[in-house]
């Protein structure tokens, strides 16, 4: 995979935009997923994910080809999400409500139109609760939790993505897990 990506990057550096399209295809789901779990809003997640790839394209010459491409790409994505979260801090609660409503709408729409079986409904409800718990985490815990348990990355990789010492990542992971536990233990 990395080899293929390196070859495509060489083409992109020569100005081949189609080669970049292949890179987008390969990583769009992962990048979108990070953004969605961080921002919990489909529209904002798509915006951030789009911005990630555009930024990657513009700055592709700064990517060090001896390093893992995804580390570099996910760094752009998480930085953009963290920026967005910080910018909207003042109406944090309002946003949480809006985001929650959006989720609920999706949930009720699905529920009414498709008449899901009990089990699927329960799982949908549970997903909402879990996502809400992730969303209430401060961004520094949210990023490590998402990268670890949704993207299934190693602590070392997370440290490289976030450009943090490994010890800091571990501390945040511990606190993030504890904060999540407080919200989810009664499920």
């Amino acid at each position: 995979m990395e080899l293929l990506v390196q070859r495509r990057i060489k083409q992109v550096l020569k100005g081949d935009q189609n080669a970049f399209g292949e890179i987008v295809e390969l990583y769009k789901d992962k990048v979108y997923q990070i953004c969605y779990r961080m921002l919990w809003n489909q529209h904002e997640a798509e915006d951030a994910a789009q911005e990630t790839f555009i930024k990657a394209f513009i700055n592709i010459h700064t990517y060090d080809t001896t390093k893992k491409f995804t580390t570099w790409l996910y760094r752009i994505a998480t930085n953009l999400c963290i920026d967005r979260i910080r910018k909207k801090k003042p109406d944090y609660h309002l946003d949480a409500e809006v985001a929650g409503t959006e989720g609920l709408n999706m949930y009720s729409q699905l529920a009414s139109s498709e008449k899901l079986p009990e089990e699927a409904l329960e799982s949908l409800e549970m997903q909402e609760t879990v996502q809400a718990a992730i969303y209430q985490l401060p961004e520094k815990y949210r990023s490590v939790i998402v990268l670890k348990y949704i993207e299934e990355l190693s602590l070392q990789e997370i440290a490289e993505i976030l450009e943090l010492p490994l010890g800091t990542v571990k501390t945040r992971m511990h606190r993030g897990r504890e904060a999540l536990r407080k919200h989810l233990r009664n499920m």
């Binding site: 935009q17 987008v24 992971m173």
Partner: protein
């Protein structure tokens, strides 16, 4: 209670997969004896399982097309070069314009060709090149006009280079947007001057 706090740390280290067999025995012994920590540990494991059970979601339909559509169009100077090669008439027209508005143009040129840049305490300047030294962090946007920039440190903002070049050291970093303006114009201007010189030889 101090024993429980120590064990909470062990639990997390265990979840990070970093427990020696000796520590594992310690943790197990405590969990066997302490109901409170047993509860805590099972809640943590359940929490992780719940987060991991989040179904994987996919990027929306048409995502890639939208990204490609938003990309900056191909390198401008390449485009202009190709276009000019196909349209020699444009050079003649531009030349005519220069002759007509000669004084205007040379004034404008004088005005715009001075080397200018956003001042920061921690940058260095070496004839027409602004250097962001390694280890230095510029907090804010950086504009360089009629000169080059070499980034070895970090710029926490946008970098705009007008009629100049940007060199990026491998350790260099820019958190904002990078833009190079008027390379195409520079090239065109050069070409027009060249053509004029040839004509008046």
């Amino acid at each position: 209670m101090a024993e429980c706090r120590k064990n909470a740390q062990l639990m997390h280290n265990y979840l990070d997969g970093e427990l020696s067999s000796n520590e594992q025995r310690q943790l197990k012994a405590h969990l066997d004896a302490c109901k409170h920590c047993r509860q805590h540990f099972s809640e943590l494991k359940k929490t992780i399982a719940l987060v991991q059970s989040c179904s994987h979601i996919h990027a929306p339909e048409g995502f890639t097309e939208r990204v490609l559509f938003s990309l900056p169009k191909e390198d401008k100077s390449v485009g202009v070069q190709r276009w000019l090669r196909k349209h020699p008439f444009f050079i003649a027209a531009a030349l005519f314009l220069i002759l007509m508005t000669g004084s205007l143009f040379s004034n404008w040129q004088k005005e715009t060709e001075s080397f200018a840049f956003t001042k920061y305490d921690n940058i260095e300047v070496e004839d027409h090149t602004v250097i962001v030294p390694e280890g230095e962090v510029i907090k804010g946007d950086m504009v360089v006009e009629n000169g080059d920039i070499r980034i070895e440190g970090e710029v926490q903002g946008d970098v705009t280079v007008i009629k100049g070049e940007r060199y990026m050291a491998s350790a260099g970093k820019v958190t904002g947007e990078i833009e190079e303006i008027d390379q195409a114009f520079g090239w065109m201007w050069f070409k027009i001057k060249e053509t004029a010189a040839e004509l008046f030889k």
